[in-house]
Symmetry: C2
Subunit: 447 residues, 2 copies
């Protein structure tokens, strides 16, 4: 059933004061869908319905809701409700939520939770935004080296309910991670087998200071459900789970795609961002690129004589610029994506360059012939003009491909984000080149 329909039914039931029916209805939904249903409600109904959600899942539902609604709920909640919510949330979700709240609200909220929770949250809040530490949770199952499986399963029954995952358990000795045991091992071996005999001691781990994107890529590479996080003192301090990793990968991809269109990254969605925020995220690059594009003006100005003698030349300049820009953007995009999914690195520079030269040459020839037909036969210009335009096109395409593949590669070499060397920058630079090439060739026509 569509969540919007559900919403209407719920609202109707509330109007009719059939609260029991609402409760029963809500029980049929999982936490993610519940959060979606709540999103459909306006503030006045929100609190009513939220309070009807089973206490057991309320915190999880809360962690899936959007900030405006959470901010609103926090304001209408009693201290006891706030405490309950926060203490039952996984630390990483709580941190996620508090990260987006104003500092004074955070202090107020934290004052309401117990000492341990507060300590955990405060520690996680201190990790830099892009670090693995900032997305980890501290709820995981700790096992002892010398337990047997049945003891381990008891330990899981004790700690398990509060842990974000019980599918990878961690064998810890004096805070140091000795090995990991998967639930699969625990469930497929006999009860009397010892942990130390089934634990894996060469495991993948990350450090709190690692970049969260690199951490996320490990999940993809090794198909892991959770990765343990080690602090600078080699102590195990938490785990990162795959669902957070998928979030990170998606955010980072969105950031890349936006950068590739000369838009500055933002955490908010398109609709949530105000007009001025949108302006702020787009204007700088537009100005920079407009100023660079200005160079074309100087080139043209210094060829004014040519212009007045052969105005016809201008008929084909825009097509030349567009085609060059598109050809360059293709190469840039292929390289940028290749770099970001680790299919390419700087060591491939020469083979990429050699491939683009050949691709550019073949594509250039095809387009040049086509353009000659258009200039000479279709538009009826003179043979020399046809040749000038076609040759310029061929050279422009080759140059564009080379610039398009080189700039992202070089950016990665100097630890710049290759994504900024995408379509807009490439197009602008290529346009300057194409105009320069065009004049260099056409000027011969009037001599």
């Amino acid at each position: 059933m569509e969540n919007t329909q559900t919403k209407d039914i719920i609202l109707q039931l509330i109007e009719d004061k059939k609260y029991k029916a609402v409760r029963e209805m809500l029980e049929d939904y999982n936490t993610v869908d519940l959060a979606e249903i709540l999103m459909e409600l306006d503030d006045k109904d929100l609190a009513i319905v939220f309070r009807m959600i089973d206490k057991e899942v309320a915190s999880e539902v809360f962690s899936y809701m959007d900030d405006d609604q959470r901010q609103y709920l926090i304001n209408v909640f009693t201290d006891r409700e706030i405490t309950e919510i926060l203490e039952n949330m996984y630390t990483d979700d709580a941190v996620d939520f508090l990260d987006d709240m104003p500092a004074n609200v955070v202090t107020k909220l934290l004052s309401k939770v117990n000492k341990d929770t507060r300590a955990d949250i405060n520690r996680l809040l201190q990790y830099p935004e892009d670090s693995a530490g900032s997305i980890m949770t501290v709820e995981y199952v700790e096992l002892q080296y010398n337990m047997d499986i049945s003891e381990a399963l008891d330990a899981i029954r004790r700690q398990g309910l509060g842990s974000e995952t019980v599918y990878t358990c961690y064998v810890v000795e004096r805070k140091e991670l000795k090995g990991i045991v998967t639930a699969k091992e625990l469930m497929t071996n006999e009860p009397d087998v010892l942990i130390k005999d089934i634990m894996l001691d060469n495991f993948v781990y990350i450090r709190t200071t690692d970049d969260k994107e690199d951490a996320a890529k490990l999940f993809h590479k090794y198909g892991l459900i959770a990765i343990p996080v080690i602090d600078t003192g080699n102590r195990m301090v938490g785990i990162v789970t795959f669902d957070d990793a998928i979030d990170v990968l998606q955010e980072e991809t969105t950031e890349d795609i936006h950068k590739m269109a000369a838009i500055e990254a933002s955490d908010d969605t398109y609709l949530k961002m105000g007009v001025f925020e949108h302006v702020r995220h787009r204007i700088i690059w537009l100005i920079v690129l407009m100023l660079i594009a200005g160079v074309t003006g100087f080139i043209i100005k210094s060829n004014e004589k040519l212009v007045s003698l052969l105005p016809a030349l201008f008929v084909f300049l825009p097509t030349l610029m567009d085609t060059g820009g598109n050809a360059g953007s293709q190469s840039a995009t292929l390289i940028i994506r290749g770099l970001s999914v680790d299919e390419l690195d700087f060591s491939d520079f020469l083979s990429v360059l050699w491939k683009e030269i050949r691709v550019g040459f073949i594509i250039g020839i095809i387009l040049a012939i086509l353009e000659y037909i258009i200039v000479y036969f279709v538009s009826g210009f003179s043979i020399p003009i046809g040749i000038a335009v076609s040759v310029s096109l061929l050279l422009t395409v080759i140059v564009s491909k080379l610039i398009g593949c080189s700039l992202p590669m070089l950016a990665s070499k100097v630890k710049l984000d290759p994504a900024i060397m995408a379509s807009p920058v490439i197009t602008t630079i290529v346009d300057i080149c194409s105009i320069a090439i065009y004049f260099a060739i056409t000027v011969k026509l009037v001599q």
Copy 2:
């Protein structure tokens, strides 16, 4: 230790005939890293080292290797080796591998495996490439409704080793999926609790015919490890696991990003694709766009009088075109990404349009003022020209933003992939508009 170093050490050991040492060394690596190490080897060493890998993990390592190497190994393997590999691979990995092999090889290989495996593989091979069925596996744990937990754990010990995941078990009655039980429930409840009391009966599932990208998105939305797959006859036929889902999401994103740069999708990586393949994937769009861009030529041609009277005007045309293209690409990219991560849909069209009008107006004003300064003060052109250029720029930016946000939205409405309405298409269309606007305004100067 870097995998390249490992490779050198291994090669050295092989040369010294220290095979035992190699075996011990290989035991320290997980399957993913082993596959990476093998990738470093050339064919003659490949077979030697692969045969030294523990039989238990060989099949899994094989499923992580790239096609060329697998093709090579298949050719040198004995029938017994082939059978072993294929029968120990998870069905989805086997299908993945066979999908990329020539038909005659597939038949040859399948003739070597037992009847059941062959039947499973053949069934999965028949699902269309983009369907959920094509990425599912048939190895999962089946439980009975009336088992208690200890019986369930026994069942897992029996079926578990061969299953791709034991963390979600499926309660099946006469082939029909009644509910799911998570390993967490199994491990955190007492042994005598009955399955029917802890099983979840409102679970997320997909159909074999669903689009695999939609399926992958469910993992992200609900943070699931595995999703059951139901066939058209409502029978449970397999599961999709989150690691395959992450692969799908990444492939689809790469496809989108390439489409956004007017490149046709390809399964191969940049380096694996030959020059002509690259040409084939890029040329069509370049031709189409070049022909569309040709329209600019007609506009200019029909204004030749203007050109010869005021050649100076051309000095600013490229800047105008570039800025318009960039402004439009920004909008297009924001909308396309918003649509693909389901933050936007067609119902938002009007609010998007209204937002882009305002953003475009503000950005346009800022850029226009800046450009006027450049034209009049810096370049020393006349006031009328300065005004003409600035006004054209303002209009161009607004129009670009509107085109940039509208085309992807409309594409999604008519079930076209919005990704094709990205930078290249937008830039080309916007250039036509900007030139038309520019002439419409500047023509006034010469009257």
